[in-house]
């Protein structure tokens, strides 16, 4: 049983010192000596404010509303626990909306303390204030909620006995012990209640119940505005009627208090479309008569029970077990949001030695001492491929597809819009693509690997080489052009040569690039060069020339492969005035084999012998 305006006074008290919350732990009327949630006011940080639009609330109202919403959330969660199949009843707040401090406050609602147990229990037992400065790191035998407080960063918690219960104040700030603060709160906000309760409440008991039932009838039927004017008046009338003259001051305060309650309830009604909330407040007011019924002997009762509790506390104190508090904490957590489920797995795990593929971790002990591998480069290989590379494959596919679509001049049939057909067309496209890759692969020499990237890389590299070669040949062509002007040689020979040039092997290419160098050497020391070469090369050179009746010349020659050799041969052939049809060359075991096909141009008459001589000359000079 609490005075009507107790909540407001509690609110005023905690707001005046700007602490995070105030809780009144009241002794249970059914279980003497057990402290449970009586009333509370939350004054701390708020994460998500869920207010209805357009209703301006003053800070008082916001705070009261929030505290009430938290209480409702707790009740709804409790209800959900009782009947798990019904999904969480609609509460204005959901657990996700809460700050840590609010969560702490909410979880506090589930706690009960025996006298001497926990901070409130001790305060009650000793009948004196307890000031806890460093709540999170305190012994959980003293402060059972220390884990919770840690998560909510509650630093200072104060408990002091009040009426027939304990008031607890808490803040996230560190406040050193100051008993005058408690005294100040008591005198300015709370003692009024203490005093008022005994005098007023007993007297107004029946009226209060009447007033409550009045609300019951009116709230759902009459509009908010009407309640706003009628019910506070009514209740204040009820109180006034029972006031003794010298308590006028008190009455006024209480009147203020009640009217505040009423207006606030109306607000709430408006916020949540009346019905739900008003019925809630109805049930609350209806509960109060029962509590009140136990009051008449209030003073004696509390005194007696307090004594009983003090006796009991001595023995109980020692029984407080930190583990049980942990257990309680866990139970609260698990019951609050979901019906608690203890493990079903016990069965399987108990006998897992016989059947399970898994072995107990302890058995695997020795390995556990190894350091974690930190080779980041190769870890999670497949997972990374799935997440990073597979999307890339799809994207590449999309790009290619789009290109192809553009190529098809944007013609897209209805069928292709259909996804399954897309799969088929994609597969066809893919097959074509693979085919082209194979073709490309066959065209490019020196393919190192079979994958597509390597094929493309090698093709690019090859193209670059070809371009470079073309440039070199063009330079060379200019040179031969100049020479040709003096020598009157056919011009197109070099170009033709270049067409077939790249049938040659890598060695041939190298000799090409070294062409200029070797030439320079030739010019500097022609004699030494030719002499030294002549000795060995004569026997190795082998030239075979055939001329048929159509004046077609076929030359097959073999000579040691040397830098610039091929070019010399070409020069030699051109000096003979032969029109080359094709040139084939290959290199085997350091020997260069060249096959030339040519036609004698017009009037030019060259004998087989001359061709042979010229080419042998060329070969031996190199």
């Amino acid at each position: 049983m609490l005075p009507e305006n107790f909540k407001e006074q509690l609110a005023l008290a905690v707001r005046s010192i700007q602490w995070s919350y105030a809780i009144f732990w009241s002794t249970s009327s059914t279980q003497p000596g057990v402290l449970s949630w009586g009333e509370g006011y939350y004054n701390g940080d708020i994460k998500t404010r869920k207010t209805s639009q357009g209703v301006e609330l003053n800070p008082d109202q916001i705070g009261l509303q929030r505290s009430e919403q938290l209480r409702e959330l707790f009740k709804s969660l409790k209800a959900a626990e009782a009947s798990p199949q019904t999904k969480k009843p609609s509460a204005a707040l959901s657990p996700e909306d809460l700050t840590d401090t609010e969560w702490y406050y909410l979880v506090c609602m589930s706690f009960v303390f025996n006298t001497g147990q926990g901070l409130p229990g001790k305060a009650l037992a000793k009948a004196e204030p307890i000031w806890l400065c460093d709540a999170p790191s305190s012994d959980c035998r003293v402060f059972s909620r220390c884990l919770l407080a840690k998560s909510a960063s509650i630093q200072t918690v104060v408990c002091f006995p009040f009426i027939n219960g304990v008031i607890e104040l808490g803040t996230t700030d560190h406040v050193s012990e100051d008993l005058s603060l408690i005294q100040q709160i008591r005198t300015s906000y709370l003692d009024i209640l203490d005093f008022g309760v005994h005098n007023i409440y007993g007297a107004t008991l029946s009226e209060d119940v009447a007033c409550a039932s009045f609300n019951v009838k009116q709230a759902p039927e009459v509009g908010g505005a009407l309640i706003n004017t009628t019910s506070p008046n009514n209740s204040s009338n009820a109180f006034q009627a029972n006031q003794t003259p010298d308590e006028t001051f008190m009455a006024e305060r209480i009147n203020n208090g009640t009217s505040q309650i009423q207006t606030w309830q109306v607000m709430d009604d408006e916020l949540s479309n009346g019905v739900h909330n008003s019925s809630d407040c109805v049930s609350q007011t209806l509960q109060s008569p029962e509590k009140i019924a136990s009051l008449p002997k209030g003073d004696n009762l509390t005194d007696n029970s307090a004594k009983d509790l003090e006796k009991g506390s001595n023995s109980k104190m020692t029984l407080v077990d930190p583990r049980s508090d942990d257990w309680h904490y866990q139970m609260v957590l698990s019951t609050l949001l979901k019906s608690s489920d203890q493990l079903f797995m016990g069965m399987h795990f108990q006998n897992f030695h016989q059947e399970s593929s898994f072995v107990s971790w302890k058995n695997a002990g020795p390995v556990s001492s190894q350091r974690p591998r930190t080779d980041g480069g190769t870890s999670q290989t497949l997972l990374k491929k799935i997440l990073f590379e597979v999307p890339r494959m799809h994207l590449d596919g999309i790009l290619e597809c789009q290109e192809e679509n553009e190529y098809k001049e944007g013609v897209r049939t209805e069928a292709e819009e259909n996804g399954m057909n897309h799969v088929l067309s994609e597969r066809r496209r893919r097959a074509k693509l693979n085919e082209r890759f194979l073709t490309l692969r066959s065209m490019v020499p020196s393919i190192t690997k079979d994958d597509k990237v390597s094929i493309l890389d090698d093709a690019i590299e090859y193209l670059r080489k070809l371009e470079k070669r073309i440039k070199e040949l063009e330079v060379h062509k200019d040179l031969t052009d100049r020479e040709a002007r003096t020598k009157r040689s056919p011009q197109d020979m070099v170009e033709r040569t270049s067409d077939n040039y790249f049938n040659k092997t890598d060695n041939g290419k190298k000799s090409m690039s070294k062409k200029r160098k070797s030439r320079d050497m030739d010019e500097k020391s022609p004699e030494t060069n030719s002499e030294s070469l002549l000795k060995g090369s004569c026997t190795n050179n082998d030239v075979d020339v055939n001329i048929n009746e159509n004046n077609e010349v076929e030359v097959e020659m073999k000579c040691p492969s040397k830098a610039g050799m091929f070019l010399k041969i070409m020069e030699g052939v051109s000096s003979l005035g032969l029109n080359l049809h094709s040139v084939q060359s290959r290199e085997v075991d350091g020997n260069l084999y060249v096959t030339l096909k040519s036609k004698l141009a017009g009037s030019t008459i060259v004998s087989v012998k001359r061709i042979k001589q010229t080419l042998q000359n060329v070969a031996s000079k190199c």
């Binding site: 969560w103 593929s357 898994f358 597979v390 799809h394």
Partner: protein
Amino acid sequence: MDNTSQESQLQSENSSTYESTYPLYAMAISSSSTSSNLQRIAVGSFIEEYTNRVDILSFNAETLTLRPNPSLSFDHPYPPTKLMFHPSTPSSLLRHSAVDLLATSGDYLRLWEVRESSVEALSLFNNSKTSEFCAPLTSFDWNDIDPKRIGTSSIDTTCTIWDIEKGVVETQLIAHDKEVYDIAWGEARVFSSVSADGSVRIFDLRDKEHSTIIYESPQPDTPLLRLAWNKQDLRYMATILMDSNKVVILDIRSPTMPVAELERHRGSVSAIAWAPQSSRHICSAGDDAQALIWELPTVAGPNGIDPMSVYSAGCEINQLQWSATQPDWIAIAFANKMQLLRV
């Protein structure tokens, strides 16, 4: 048994192994069993080419046999990033009990009807109105409370919620700053996702404007790769980081601070799965070739949390499934193998 292909199976008392001809990644266990008390298991190939396969196996828990159904194999464009059977057999969608719905993700979300002896492509979900293509999908989750909903996560930073019965997009949210790598449903309208931006966010379809960041990886921008929401206790979810041996356990009520970090793997963790019938057990597997089962303690000790049991596979474990229909069995995939382990 038609074991004509090179696919073979090995078995022992407490496990059953299926060996495929190609590496396996995606894997799903059906929530319904066929007439002959067989459990269907779908495995997806990982071949770095266009044509990939999804094979349907039948698992007989009594004889411990895993048998491939060649007639139920089908092609999939590129490797499927995830496979999932319908969370509960919907009588409305299916004609008879031997029919299963299987969803796959890759370039699109696809639904397949797995029948007695054939698989038919049911539908393909493309949320791009302008082009034939939508951004590739990294993962998806089927809402088990409201099975008409499937949420997909994409590299284009969005999550898309499909109404698969109507075949329409219910909503598409820009969920993260970077690629979204995984998505998990909590309730009918609440889902969570992890991303390359290193955050875990929770979304409520009733309030699409806002999301709540539950966790951010300690080194900024360390991607979070996988997410598992504890279906037995929705306060908890688990995630894994890139190149990390940790399993991070989160409590959605205490954002930013993980309630536990499980650090006994000796290589990076690649897969996690909560126990289907217990709120406090989770299994994790990774590069150290181990699958660890953890029991979350009420209060963590100073030396961290030890797993309760361990299984060692031959090589890096890439996939892990713990099905509600077969809570006694954990399925893992490594290299070319899929293995069912008795818990």
